[in-house]
């Protein structure tokens, strides 16, 4: 039994099956991008254990194909197991060993990246200084205490916690927060314009004049969900009312509790940095006489008091800034070139592909070179 299992898990047939299944998955995942967009297709096909049918909805769903993690995982196990079982040191096999060792590094690195890499954006107007980046795909509800004139104390409640509902307590907050309603994607309307049947849930702040309509999740590449929640603030003295928090409501809403002033805002999740970045200048060059972009560049000032760093940096196409584990890339621009968008990536395993590439290429060269030499030797041995 165990032997049969070991044979199966180390077999070359399994490798081929995995490779072919991987091809089918990648093909399907590529075609699917036309309809559901690149991000959604990636989630469904590649960053999943199974591909489910139907693709969305919470109802009855069946797995129809192994997903990227499944196939990649089996391939990785197969690769390691086969080599562990059959490994024998031999110069003839050097190429093969190198190639597969490189592949193991690459697959493991890919898995690591999937698990631990964080991508976020930093959106800067000219002159802005920020010490945080934002995740455009995840929201958080920030409860900000503004009493201290020196700094704000922020308690951020992630979208996922709001989605679970119930009551939220935190040591930094002198009150409890009860989630009354949560909408993954929504549309807001003024209560006066909405038809009968829809009533405002909130009774405090500008949200009291607004009704919320739930809508299906956004699927387009550039579409985003408009996350909205209705929350009730309960102090030890009793309820202070219900607020509506949504990105669409604009400015933070203010209330007081425990003798202090608080603000409420739904905003993209933030990652704070131990340093700050200021945008000095953004340039958008075009080729003369055309609209074809030639270069985008942001001149930023990096200030890090811990490390006594205060310097100007130019971030431009293909020339990112790497600093303290974060990498800043020029990603886009807005508002007639007055806003620069930097992509901020934290990827602890970014070196894996570089190493893997060198190892595999060396392995393939050795292996095929060995074949080629053998082949030409045999040919030379033949009578002309």
């Amino acid at each position: 039994m165990l032997r049969a299992f070991i044979n199966a898990i180390t077999s070359l047939k399994l490798t081929i099956v995995c490779l072919v299944a991987g091809m089918a998955l990648i093909f399907a995942g590529t075609i699917a991008q036309v309809h559901v967009g690149i991000w959604e297709a990636q989630q469904r096909y590649f960053q999943s254990w199974f591909v489910w049918w139907p693709g969305e909805g919470s109802g009855f769903r069946i797995p129809i194909f192994p997903g990227g993690h499944f196939i990649g995982g089996v391939l990785l196990i197969n690769l390691i197991a086969a080599h562990a079982k059959r490994f024998q040191w031999n110069w003839r096999k050097l190429g093969i060993h190198l190639t597969h060792a490189g592949l193991i590094i690459m697959l493991a690195g890919g898995l690591f990246t999937d698990l631990f890499a964080v991508e976020s954006h930093m959106r800067l107007n000219i002159g802005d200084t920020k010490n945080f980046s934002e995740d455009p795909r995840r929201m958080e509800m920030a409860v900000i205490e503004t009493s201290d004139p020196e700094f704000d104390q922020v308690t951020a409640i992630p979208e996922a916690v709001l989605r679970r509902g119930g009551t939220i307590e935190h040591s930094s907050l002198p009150f409890r927060i009860t989630v009354r309603n949560f909408y993954q994607n929504s549309r807001l309307k003024m209560a006066s314009e909405a038809g009968a049947g829809l009533k405002p849930i909130a009774n405090q702040g500008p949200g009291a004049q607004v009704v919320v309509e739930p809508v299906p999740r956004a699927t387009g590449v550039n579409d985003r969900d408009l996350v909205t929640a209705a929350i009730e603030i309960i102090t030890p003295e009793g309820s202070r009312g219900t607020w509506l928090v949504s990105d669409a409501l604009g400015a933070p809403q203010t209330f007081s509790a425990g003798g202090r002033t608080w603000q409420l805002a739904m905003r993209p999740a933030r990652y704070y940095k131990p340093y700050s970045v200021t945008l000095q200048k953004f340039t958008h060059e075009k080729y003369p006489g055309t609209e074809i972009p030639k270069n985008f560049a942001s001149r930023i000032t990096l200030i890090d008091e811990d490390k006594a760093v205060n310097r100007n940096v130019l971030v431009y196409m293909n020339h990112p800034l790497r600093y303290r584990g974060d990498t800043y890339y020029q990603a886009g621009f807005e508002q007639d070139d007055r806003t620069s968008i930097l992509q901020v990536v934290r990827n602890p395993s970014f070196l894996a592909p570089y190493v893997a590439c060198i190892v595999v290429a060396a392995g393939l060269l050795v292996q095929f070179g060995y074949h080629l030499v053998g082949f030409s030797r045999r040919r030379r041995a033949l009578p002309a």
């Binding site: 070359l12 047939k13 490798t15 081929i16 490779l19 072919v20 991987g22 091809m23 990648i26 093909f27 995942g29 590529t30 075609i31 991008q33 036309v34 967009g37 690149i38 297709a41 990636q42 590649f46 690459m106 890919g110 990246t113 991508e119 590449v221 060059e285 075009k286 080729y287 003369p288 006489g289 055309t290 074809i292 972009p293 030639k294 270069n295 985008f296 196409m317 293909n318 990112p320 990498t327 890339y329 990603a331 992509q343 901020v344 990536v345 990827n347 970014f350 592909p353 570089y354 893997a356 590439c357 595999v360 290429a361 393939l364 060269l365 292996q367 095929f368 074949h371 082949f375 040919r379």
Partner: protein, 635 residues
Amino acid sequence: MKRYFPWLALLFAGAWILAALIPPRQRSDGPDLVSFGKLPVLVGGRIKPFDTVARNSLLIIHGKQTVALNNGETISAIQWLADLVFNPAVADGYPVFVIQNAEVLGLFGWEQSDRKYFSFNELSPFLRQIDEQGEQSDKLESVQRSAYQSAVLNLRNALILCQKLKNSLRPEDAHDFSRELATYAAAIAPAAEAASQREKGQTFDKSKLEAVATFMDRYETIANQAYMLTVPSPAGPQWQPVGAVLMEALRTDEIHPVVQAYAQIGDAYQAGNYRAFSEQVTKLQNWFAKDQERATKRAAFEFFFNHVDPFTHSMYLYVLAFLFACGSWLGWSRPLNRAAFYLLLLSLAVHTFGLVSRMYLQERPPVTNLYSSAIFIGWGAVIVSLILERIFRDGIGAACAGAIGFITLIIAHHLAGSGDTLEMLQAVLDTNIWLATHVVAITTGYSAMFLAGMLAMIYIVRGVFTPSLKKETADSLSRMTYGVVCFATLFSFVGTVLGGIWADQSWGRFWGWDPKENGAVLIVLWCAVILHARWGGFVRQRGLMIMAIFGNIVTSFSWFGVNMLGVGLHSYGFMQKAFPWLCGFIASQLALIVVAAMPLDRWRSFQISASSPRKDRGAELKFIPPELAAETTGE
């Protein structure tokens, strides 16, 4: 004859190529359009000669690089452009606009007939209609447009391009533009005086201000419409259109010599005074040679490159070589084989000249867009095939070289329809290191995949339909295919990973599941499947061939198919037109796979004559090469 045939073939082909290298000569009684065609202008961010602008514009508008007039005469692109910019009244009568869509014709109340080219004069009553219809379809994504919508939008864009060209050197209604400029120049100083008088509150002559204002309106209109930037600015790479320079003259009180020269050139052309035209062109050419030395040299070289047309020439040579190589399997094999090899060397030389010229003109590594990838794939595959031919000397490498060279150049030819193939690169692509490594490795991988597929096709076609697939040929085909797949694996893998590293450098994401990336990894995976299936002994010769043919499908999907999806970061060219061709290609490959899957005794090469003893049959069917058999047991 047998001995001399290859040399004779080379001699004729060489003479044909040499003839193409002779610079064009201008008819003595006509305008010197050769010199005019070499003058540099800036279009699309790049300095190029008028000749290139003329060819590319005509390709966009007309679909061809020459115009057949209604009187049976054929005119060149540069003559069309000269007429268009200097003598629009004549050019408006040329049938250049292509309309094939019946619904678009119906828009004008015309029935579909044999005619597909129409002149500006014929279309002029419907301009407003075309503009409205085109504007509506412009709002849609290209994937969403119907055939009618695409056709009417193309027509609108062609008319706009024409309009812009007409107003690039002078207003389209200008007659005796030199005199107009003189009047304008004379009016500047009095107008300036009047303006300063007005500022001081003194009495001033209003008509003097108005005289200049009329000119300014006129020049602003052409400045906004200009397609070509024809006047180099003394301070740096920014060239300007004639209109803008004329507006600036108000400040400098001086009309730029290049503008004046073009005015005189145009006036002479319009008046039919070709001698004056040629003299003025030569004068301007000398001015450019002194003031813009580099630009002038480059433009002149590009003119020569356009004239030589290397890719068309090598395309014909590839076909001829392919035919010779195939012929060599049927008989007269040595001389034909030799001839094919010599022709291929010549053709490769011409192909290389074209490739290197493009690199010089663009100052880039060889592959920058889909067009150049086709050129490069052909080039790479031809070189590898020639090496195979050198080793095996059986005509197979030569046939592959001829076929792939020809097909890729045909594909390139059809990809050139969208205008300048030396276009400027988007910001993220503006890096020679990655273009030279990632892109070259990936396209070399494509080359090798197509070559492996081609070898497999030869194996199957010769095996199934002819009796010519002997054991030795089959063995060497199998070895070649295996070797080429190894080569493809190496390059596809390295290219794909380098692409990932590039992405990591520019977006911070090694792998983004972008369609083009997925296409590349499909090739790598398929190569891995082929190699493992062979090492594991799951496939032998025929299986290897079938898999190599499937590799053609995978590669064509990766090269073209993913671009048709219209999504992702690499969608630098959505090609609706190529879709049926891609489907046809895939269908043909599937058909070949089915043919190859037929039982071996249906293959003509393996049919045993009735007289041969039965027991031999098995021996002849199973020719596993010894080298393969050894490896099968080795793993």
